[in-house]
Structure formats: structure tokens, C-alpha cells
Amino acid sequence: MTELTQNRTHAQAPAGAKARAKARREGGSPHPWYFIVPAFAVLGVFFVLPTLFNFVYPFTTWSAFTPVIKYAGLENFRSVVADGTLFSALKITLTYAAVVAVLQNLFGLLLALLLERDTFLNRVARVFFFFPVLISALAAGYIFQALLKPNGAFNQVLGFVLGHDVSTAWLGSTTWTIVVVSLVHAWKWMGLSMLVYLAGLKSVPGDVVEAARIDGASRWQVFRHVKFPLLAPAVTFNAATALLGTMNGFDIVQATTAGGPARSTEVLNIFIFRTFGSGLYAQATTMSLVLFLVVVILAVPVVTYLRHREKVLG
């Protein structure tokens, strides 16, 4: 592969130089910068500008109740630290993101391995396991709010299997509900991970698997030593998108628990939504800045990976 790419680069270098020289003679680049202007105008106004403001307004008194915005120093940070909101919201968000990243990948990988062969049943099953990805996360949240009620369908089925009544309030525990909500999130997105893993499995050469089997490798050995190493890019892609996507999560938590019980599932975006709704804009944007900084810190290893992937693609 590398040899091929190198050959191509060598061959195209003189041709590219010739074309560029021709373009210069005619007074313009073949790849002019004005092609990025529309994208960067939109990015600048709707993405970069708000992000810059996000470094300013946390230090002000901006709210629905003050007519004039004044400088407030670190007051907003002090208040979210003092009442413990900052650390609890951070802890909950990171827990949520980590549990989802693990479960969504585990479910996606298991489904992909289960449905790897191209049988009719497997094709149909893949389509159905993708259904939760299509519906809105809000809808998924409401479905599980109903399923997981103390007298809901899940407990009824569980009671039937166990032979006695079950009335666990799955969404009522200040310790475990965050894990239950993570499970719902993983259920909603496992179909997407499954597809990415299936694509990864398709890229595993069949003759390598066959050779390993002829050499007497068990199913587990084939998976562990042949397929899994080749799935590494899919794992990284899935884990990174799940982790960073969930840091930004809102809908499923809002629809299942709305942050409760006793704010034990209040992730950063729920806090931002709630405080913004009550007019405390500066506090909301303070948490938004915290979210930004946490994601940037977490993203460093991810960026390193994306750079690597890009090189592979190029």
C-alpha cells in the first residue's frame, strides 16, 4: 500500500507542478482559497463566535433579570463550586459517558459477531437492531420511562420469570439510575456501533480466518488473535464517538429522569438547560465553558488518533 501511494506521489509531483505553473501563468491557483469562504463564514458566525463569547460571558452578570450586563469576576464559578454542582455534574457526566462508551461498544460488537454471516435472518435482524438509531432519543427515553416504572412491563416480565412480584424503581435510585440511563443510551445507539463493527469484520480477509481454523484455532482464538486486532480502528472510532457524543448528551436523560432523583442524573447539559430556562444565563454559560474545557482535555488523545487515521486514509 505505502509503495503504491509513494509511486503515485512521485508520478503526480511533476504533473501537479506543471498544472500549478500553468495556473500561475493564468493568474489563479487551481485550488483557490475562496472555495472555503462559505463554509468558514457559517462556521465563524454560528460556531467560532459563540465559542469565543463562551470565554467572556461566564465572567459577567448576564441574566434575564438584569438590564445591564456587568463584569462579575469569578462569582459564577464560585457559586457552582460552592454548592457542589460543578463537581457532581462533572462526575455524573463522566460516569455516564464512560459507562455508555463501554456498553454501547460491547453490545455493538456482540451483535456484529452474532450477525456476522450473511444469512437471511441475520440481514433482517440487522435492520431491526438499527431501528432504535432512527427514532428520536427523546422517544427512546419515554419508552424506557414507561417500561421501567415500578409496576411497568419490565418488572412484570421479571416477576413472571422469577416467580414472585418485582417492584424495583429502576429510575428511582440515586446511585444506580445513572447506570440504567446509560443502558438506555447504549440501547439507542448500539445499532450504529454494530454496523461499524460489521464493516470492520467484512474487512478481515476470509483466507486468514480459514488458515487459522485449519491450523486448529478455536472460535475464541480466531476472534482474539485474528479478528479483534483487525477491528482496532472500528473500536477506536466507536469508542471515541460514543464517549464524546455522550459528554454532550441530553435527550435520553431528560426523557427518562429529567436529572432526578435528587439531581443524581443531572449531567452538564441538563444543568445548562435548567438554569438557562430559569433565566440564569451566565451560570448556564459557565457550565457550557466547563463542558467545552473537559471535552477539549479528553479530546487530545482522540485528535491524535484522528490524525493517524487521516494519514492511513491519505
Partner: protein, 280 residues
Amino acid sequence: MTITTSPRRAPRLLQPTVVVALLVMVIGAPFWLVLATASKTQGEALNPNLALPTHWRLWGNIAQASDKGEIGRALLGSAVVVIPAVIGVLVFGSMAAWIFGRRNGRGTAVLYGIGISGVLVPPAVVTVVLVLRQLHLAGTQVGMIGVYMGMYLSTVIFFITGFVRTIPIELEEAARVDGAGPARVFFRIILPLLGPVIATCTILITLFAWNDVFYAFFALGGGKNTTMPLNLFKVASTALYTNAWNLIFSYVILTSLPLVLLFSVAQRKIISGITSGAVK
């Protein structure tokens, strides 16, 4: 011989059994709950369960929910925002990606870094409202389109830049020798070749934007413009007080229908579109 065939035959029966069992429990049960509850009377739906409705009144509930949730206005509101945003990010994003895929150097790297920063970094959702207000776009569909475009451009630029690099530059040079300018080269040669990666981006961004409610709260919040997820939230928030689960799930069916129908029609293309673009 029997020793080698028996472990092979067992999985042949085992695998389909496991698949069907999982489908029934993991997908079937939740979706049956939605359909069964949406078909019940309000009295029966107070405690949603998997039991069959005694009287099927799905159409009545759907009609009532679509009336309460103004489904027509919501569907139109979603379409007016999502379709231009998706087309916009694809056109602007692929234009920028073409330049990034072809140019080298430090300046290009810096601009590319800014261009793809949104793949990882979350949008500043509170101060975006401030910007929208200053531009007199708060609560408008144009503002919502701008916010979605700003959020998803990075993803498009990232995916397409990688793809552009795999297109041989000789194709462009041939056209250029024939006297084609950059616009002609891009729209006639490059854009048609981007098909597979554009398909992947279209599917993913439509999924995200169509189902988004968080950013819509901030950009459209409280105004006269709405989307399907915003109306689902509104319907559910009032119906939850009275435990009118039949109405909530009727509206869930209504909001899920457009994408589910689209997916059923183009299921093969969508699955191969996602898998071909996501992992190379």
C-alpha cells in the same frame, strides 16, 4: 467424525434461536409497548404494559395526538430546517474539503484544524442564543439552519477531505488542460465522484438534525417555529401529568414514522452508506 460435526451443528440451531430471542426481548418488547399503549384507551394506558388492548383505538389516539401536537406544522417545521441545513453543509463542506484535500503547508493545516474542530468540541449552546439575538435570528428558522450548519460542517469537512485525497489529481489536470476553471473542475469532476461519502454524511447528519431537541430548544425556544422533537417534548410534558401514555406513544409513532419509512425504502443503501464511509 461425529465429534467434529456436532459442535458445528449445535451453533447452526443455536445462533438463529439466540437472534430471534434477542430480537423479541430487546427490540420487540419496547416497540410492542409503544404500539399496544398507543392503541389503548386512556384508562387502560395509565399503566403502560405489554397486554393487548381490549379495544383497538390506534387511529383515534393518533388523530387526537396529531391534533394536540400540531403534527402538520411540526413536520413542516422540521423539514424546512433540516433539508436546507443538510444541503448547505454538504455543498459548503465539500467545497472547503476539496481545497483542504489538495493543498499542503502550515496555513492549510491550521485552517483545516479550525474547520474540523467541531467534530470533537461541543457547540457553545448558550452564547449561540446571544449571537442569534444580535443578528435578529433568535427563534427563526434561518437561525436554526445556521446553528445546525455550524455544528455539522466540521463532520462533513473531516469525512470528505479524507475522501478527496483518494481521488487521483490527474482527473482534475486533464480537465484543467482543456481549459476548465476551478468552479467547473469542482462541480463537474470532483462533486460527482464524492457520491459514497456524501451519502454517508447525508444519512448521519439527517439522523442527528432530524432527531435533535437540545439545540432546537435554544435556537427556536418559545417562538412560533417548532420541530417534531420539540412538539414531542411539549406533548409528553403535558401528557405525563395525566399519565396519558396512549397520547405520548401515538406521538412517538408519528414522529418516528418519516425516518422509519425512509429507512425501510432505502434500507440497503443506508446500511452500506454508513458502513462504507465510517471505517476505511
